[in-house]
């Protein structure tokens, strides 16, 4: 409890991060209760197509007469779920690879880092496209593809942390006490290595949301759910006459991603107080 309080005090010092957190909570609230308060199916054609924002359709309608606001609210669910789950999966996998490579070193480290470097070399967006295209677009494949291209940076970071920690006195003491490797990795080193990882994986949520929007803009999104990138793709067809149709979901992405980035920086200040940037 005390730790949380200290954490919040440090986090609060970064004004921009607090503002980002407020915006992010708003987006999360919109994703959870928005579709309840505004119960319109985002795929329903409910009005004349390509309408400007009005009292009846707060953000207007798209080329097929679908309510744009309903699309945004449902799209928020997709973006947040894909972003958060992809980041969690990538972090878990990166932790596993990085911890094993850093802790054991030697041949294991060599092989694992070769793999990591290999995945860092391939243009990640192209790989994500190929994975989604091959396994057919759905929430699961899109999330897995983003996770599959995001884990290497976590793995590298974790490996560095583990190498820095593995020969410290407290780890040697654990070994001398006869503690198992698994226990040392999970209970002793991991908590010490975690703060920078939390920062990186929170920023990864932002990147994942951007990647998801790019994929769905290319038509690689789950056909059963609406997403922000898909909305921009739809609006693009009438860009010359109805620019706001692509502008609105784009601004939504921008604000959400910006908020997450600000929160990430706040987390960095709060979790790694010694690494304060100039």
């Amino acid at each position: 409890m005390m730790g949380l309080l200290v954490f919040w005090r440090r986090f609060r010092r970064n004004r921009a991060a607090v503002a980002g957190l407020a915006v992010l909570l708003l987006v999360v609230a919109a994703a959870i209760i928005g579709p309840v308060l505004h119960p319109i199916d985002p795929f329903d054609m409910i009005g004349r197509p390509t309408q400007l924002p009005s009292a009846r359709f707060l953000l207007g309608t798209d080329v097929s007469g679908r309510d744009i606001l309903a699309g945004l609210l449902h799209g928020a669910r997709v973006s947040l779920v894909v972003g958060i789950v992809a980041s969690l999966v990538a972090t878990a996998f990166g932790l596993l690879v990085g911890a094993v490579a850093g802790y054991y070193g030697g041949a294991v480290d060599n092989v694992l880092m070769r793999c990591t470097d290999f995945f860092l070399t391939i243009p990640s967006f192209v790989l994500a496209i190929v994975i989604v295209a091959i396994f057919q677009p759905s929430i699961v494949t899109v999330t897995s593809a983003i996770a599959a291209v995001s884990w290497p940076s976590v793995a590298r970071l974790v490996r560095g942390e583990f190498i820095a920690q593995r020969d410290r006195d407290y780890v040697r003491a654990c070994r001398a006490l006869g503690m198992k490797d698994r226990e040392i990795i999970l209970r002793q080193i991991l908590p010490n290595a975690l703060p920078p990882v939390i920062v990186v994986s929170s920023l990864m949520v932002a990147t994942a949301i951007l990647t998801e929007s790019g994929l769905s803009f290319l038509g690689l999104s789950d056909p059963d759910v609406i997403s922000w990138g898909y909305q921009i793709g739809v609006g693009r067809t009438v860009l010359r006459v109805a620019w706001w149709m692509s502008a609105i979901p784009g601004i939504t992405i921008l604000v959400t991603v910006l908020a997450i980035n600000l929160v990430g920086e706040g987390l960095n200040d709060a979790l790694n107080p010694r690494l304060q940037q100039r």
Partner: protein, 325 residues
């Protein structure tokens, strides 16, 4: 053999495992995919009998055991055979190769803009550390980081092509007009402005931040104090003495980001109808052309490795202390 040549040879040899690994990945993806090449061809010819599909499968060698297929696959790769696009009726390598120059042009333009602008702004921000320029640049960078590139492209089209009507909104050149090479170059240049700006802006922000941090680091070194003691102007110290030494980390990162830039150019090319790899990806997606997609993945990875090699060689020019062995 001269050290540089030996370095080059070794680096080029390092390409081999990378290519083999991507080939293995491609092979795995291809076999994890629901349906195989025979099904796709059968489907694209409007449905076929089971016997015909089986015949196709045999003609592609798909009826052999997996390890044999893999050996065949690698063997074909070694003879630069990346497969056949059944949809475009052309070898994959040919389709991909003819798109590379346009993508490289776009990437080089974007990186050049980004490096030039990023360094300049970074130097300015560092020299006015905590001043208003520094503040504004930080805020702009935050916004740029959060902007989806393809959306930025669309908005630039709305502003510069639709509203102001000063720049073309798509394509690489004006079609069906005869012009001399100079006019043609200027025409391509005009078409290049919006796509390269769209692709480059993110990296302008990134390099500005990096250059700023790197400059602030250099400003703490002794030789800067010496320069100040000599009575040199702050402008000269910043732009001449510090900037040269702050450059290297920025170039390093530019090299690391090549894959990222290539990924971004896929979306940007789609937005602007730029006839490079990105458009090819888009077309391949529309037509479900898997062999073509996998070929693009392979070739673009090789491009990334080669560009990284070029960046490494550039180090030697920037910093004579670095010798390639």
């Amino acid at each position: 053999m001269s050290p540089t040549l030996a370095f080059l040879t070794r680096r080029l040899l390092q390409l081999v495992p990378v290519v083999l690994a991507i080939a293995a990945l491609n092979f795995a993806l291809l076999h994890l995919a629901p349906g195989d090449a025979a099904d796709i061809v059968a489907a694209s010819s409007g449905g076929a009998s089971a016997e015909f599909t089986a015949e196709l499968r045999a003609s592609f060698g798909l009826d052999r055991p997996l390890h044999e297929q893999f050996v065949l696959f690698i063997g074909r790769l070694l003879t630069l055979d990346l497969g056949w696009s059944h949809i475009q009726q052309a070898p994959v390598l040919e389709l991909v190769a003819e798109r590379i120059p346009a993508t490289l042009l776009l990437m080089v333009a974007a990186i050049t803009v980004a490096l030039a602008a990023g360094m300049l702004l970074g130097i300015l921000a560092a020299m006015r550390h905590r001043g208003w320029i520094d503040g504004i640049l930080s805020v702009v960078a935050l916004v740029v980081y959060a902007t989806p590139q393809f959306w930025l492209g669309l908005m630039l089209i709305v502003l510069f092509s639709v509203t102001l009507g000063v720049l073309p909104s798509g394509g690489m050149m004006t079609i069906a007009t005869e012009m001399g090479w100079a006019a043609r170059a200027a025409d391509i240049g005009r078409h290049l402005v919006l796509p390269s700006l769209t692709l480059g802006l993110f990296y302008v922000a990134l390099y500005t931040r990096l250059m700023r941090a790197s400059m602030l680091e250099v400003f703490t070194l002794d030789f800067i104090t010496t320069a100040r003691a000599k009575g040199l102007s702050e402008t000269r110290i910043g732009f001449v003495h510090a900037a040269r030494n702050a450059l290297l980390p920025v170039v390093t990162l530019a090299g690391v980001q090549i894959g990222h830039i290539l990924g971004g150019s896929i979306l940007v090319e789609t937005v602007f109808g730029w006839p490079g790899l990105g458009r090819l990806v888009f077309d391949a997606l529309l037509q479900r052309d898997l062999p073509l997609l996998l070929g693009i993945l392979l070739v673009s990875s090789v491009v990334v490795v080669l560009v990284n090699l070029v960046v490494d060689l550039l180090y030697g020019l920037l910093d004579p202390r670095i010798v390639h062995r």
